[in-house]
């Protein structure tokens, strides 16, 4: 199957091309970027038969309107931004086919998260820059010219299409553990500079409900709520910032550092969101409420293993779906419930009528 093209009719609020990130260049200060909710991107890619690290579109709050040239398959995964195919409701977490002239749009968020991923069979074909197709807007690197989509942009899928007819209709059964709740609890382990805070600060940090403030983007979320005091100043000699780090600048408002976070920074870090909960953080947006639960390293590792199991289970379902026997024609096979046949017994032909009882 040839590559499918699409024209961006409306770009949406902030739509960028993302894969699993530009790892390996933090030593020269290159942020990792990549999908904020990498669980959704991985699952979306599995649904359409792509490698999990294929590039898709990360949509924020209002998704894009895309007009397709040629046919192909896609899936929408992550927060429900109400996808529409030619104006009709389109499914989430399910592989469906689009044809020449179709358009995909979004009606808007239903209030359960703000980031959604469109994964196309074959992935999106943009140049690999420093090992990744992810867009890092602040340095104008990767994606489509290093920037969010604009009206009139033309995107193209990769030429290596998955087994289209065997993949259409696939919708894995799984629990979407990252769906945004009224108050989302993120598990954290104590941060590397926890000794820079009074002893009770970490417990207090975990006992509060914070709201994600208006300064919330792919770099990080500033949290609104009770401020956190330091023992003596917020500054450290800059060191590395892993994903999910919760740093506390002098103003006392914690900031969760996410996909586009700087590689190093000089604010004391009170906590780190465990890797298994980073996708949940990545799906949230301004106004969402969040609280933190202290766990140990062992539990963080257990949660990671659960996540790995979930992903493996979906991978198995995808392989199973594609390997099921299929009728040759695309029309569903209809088995008749009655008919007749000719049976030959000792050289004599008999006509036999039969029906399903």
């Amino acid at each position: 199957m040839a590559a499918m093209k699409m024209t961006v009719v409306k770009p949406g609020l902030f739509t960028t091309i993302q894969d699993l990130g530009r790892w390996g260049h933090q030593a020269i200060g290159m942020p990792v970027a990549g999908a904020m909710d990498w669980f959704a991107l991985r699952v979306g890619n599995m649904i359409v038969g792509n490698p999990e690290d294929a590039a898709g579109l990360e949509c924020t709050l209002s998704g894009p309107k895309l007009h397709f040239q040629g046919s192909g398959i896609l899936a929408v995964a992550g927060a429900d931004l109400q996808p529409r195919l030619n104006g009709e409701a389109a499914p989430m977490w399910r592989c469906f086919k689009v044809h020449d002239g179709d358009s995909l749009s979004f009606a808007g968020p239903v209030g359960k998260g703000c980031r959604s991923y469109i994964c196309f069979g074959g992935g999106l074909d943009v140049p690999v820059v420093m090992g990744s197709r992810s867009t890092y807007v602040r340095a104008a690197v990767g994606g489509l010219h290093g920037r969010p989509l604009k009206p009139g942009d033309v995107l193209e899928t990769g030429k290596e299409q998955p087994l289209v007819e065997r993949t259409v209709g696939f919708a894995p059964s799984f629990e979407d553990i990252y769906a945004v709740e009224d108050v989302r609890t993120l598990s954290v382990i104590e941060g590397p500079q926890i000794h820079m805070f009074p002893r009770e600060s970490f417990e207090r940090f975990c006992a509060q409900i914070y709201e994600i403030g208006p300064n919330a983007d792919r770099m990080g979320y500033r949290l609104e709520g009770p401020t956190i005091e330091h023992k003596a100043g917020a500054d450290i000699v800059s060191d590395a910032i892993p994903p999910g780090s919760v740093q506390v600048p002098g103003h006392g408002k914690p900031i969760i550092m996410l996909a586009d976070r700087q590689t190093t920074g000089g604010y004391a870090k009170i906590a780190t969101v465990i890797t298994a909960d980073v996708p949940a953080a990545g799906r949230m947006g301004p106004g969402d409420k969040v609280s933190f639960k202290a766990v140990g390293l062992q539990e963080a590792v257990v949660r990671l293993k659960e996540l790995a199991r979930r992903l493996r289970d979906i991978r198995i379902q995808a392989a199973d779906y594609r390997s099921r026997p299929r009728p040759v024609s695309s029309a569903p096979l209809k088995r008749p419930d009655k008919g007749s046949m000719i049976v030959t017994v000792e050289g004599e032909k008999h006509r036999v009528d039969w029906e399903t009882l």
Partner: protein, 238 residues
């Protein structure tokens, strides 16, 4: 996990996928030389569960594959690297010159740095251009050099409220540190001037102008010269 202990080097987890080895908690050329040497050794002998190794001023972050790395093995491996690595000397080099237009719109915090130091703005410029700096590390954004060697008189705390957008080329001060913003980004550094040089260009090879271990010096230029260099009418270095 808190990284605690009285003696350096010390190590611990920053989250569940990043193991940090600290060689000190101050800005110091010897400590930095250890971190850079350790990182080089770690990269050379990295098992396949190592995603990347990031040296900083005084520590090294070892990012591991979340799904594959056994946490005990990571700690054991880092301990072995600590026994194996060795620091080699840093050779003398001619400092790389960075032209900077100080003050005005390019350096909105020059006055507050001067006030904090109790000196006038010209003296801030004289002190800032009077040193040879070591590029301790690149970080924060692509190509951002963290420089050591600033005159202690210029030490000024970060802004309590970080700026949302700082223009590329801005030269700033934060505590004991001075540096240059290679791309527009938010940040809490006090801005004293701007360079017309492009520190990061992903389509240039190599994309970054500076690298860890380099020495550099700032040179004061006026607005006209800033524009000439920026527009390519004057080449730099001459």
């Amino acid at each position: 996990m808190p990284i605690t202990g009285d003696a350096f080097p010390r190590a611990g987890w920053a989250g569940d996928s990043c193991y940090v080895i600290e060689f000190g908690d101050v800005i110091d050329e010897e400590i930095n030389a250890r971190a850079v040497a350790f990182a080089a050794h770690a990269r050379m002998s990295a098992p396949d569960w190592v995603v990347e190794v990031v040296p900083t001023y005084r520590s090294v972050a070892v990012y591991v594959d979340s799904f594959r790395a056994e946490r005990d093995v990571v700690a054991e491996t880092a301990a072995r690297w600590l026994r194996q690595y060795s620091v080699t000397g840093r050779e003398e080099q001619v400092p790389f010159g960075i032209p900077v237009c100080y003050g005005g719109d390019f350096g909105p915090d020059l006055a507050s740095v001067a006030a904090h130091a109790g000196i006038d703005e010209d003296e801030v410029v004289r002190l800032h251009t009077g040193q040879v700096y070591l590029v301790y590390m690149l970080g924060f954004t692509p190509g951002f050099p963290y420089l050591g060697g600033m005159n202690p008189k210029l030490e000024t705390p970060r802004l309590d409220e970080p700026r949302v957008a700082i223009p590329a080329g801005s030269v700033g001060i934060a505590g004991k540190q001075t540096g240059i913003y290679p791309v527009e980004s938010p940040g809490g550094w006090r801005l004293i001037g701007r360079t017309p040089l492009t520190l990061f260009d992903p389509f240039r090879d190599p994309p970054v102008l500076l690298e860890a271990g380099m020495r550099l010096r700032f040179t004061s230029i006026d607005g006209d010269r800033f524009r000439r260099i920026q527009e390519g009418k004057e080449t730099w270095p001459q």
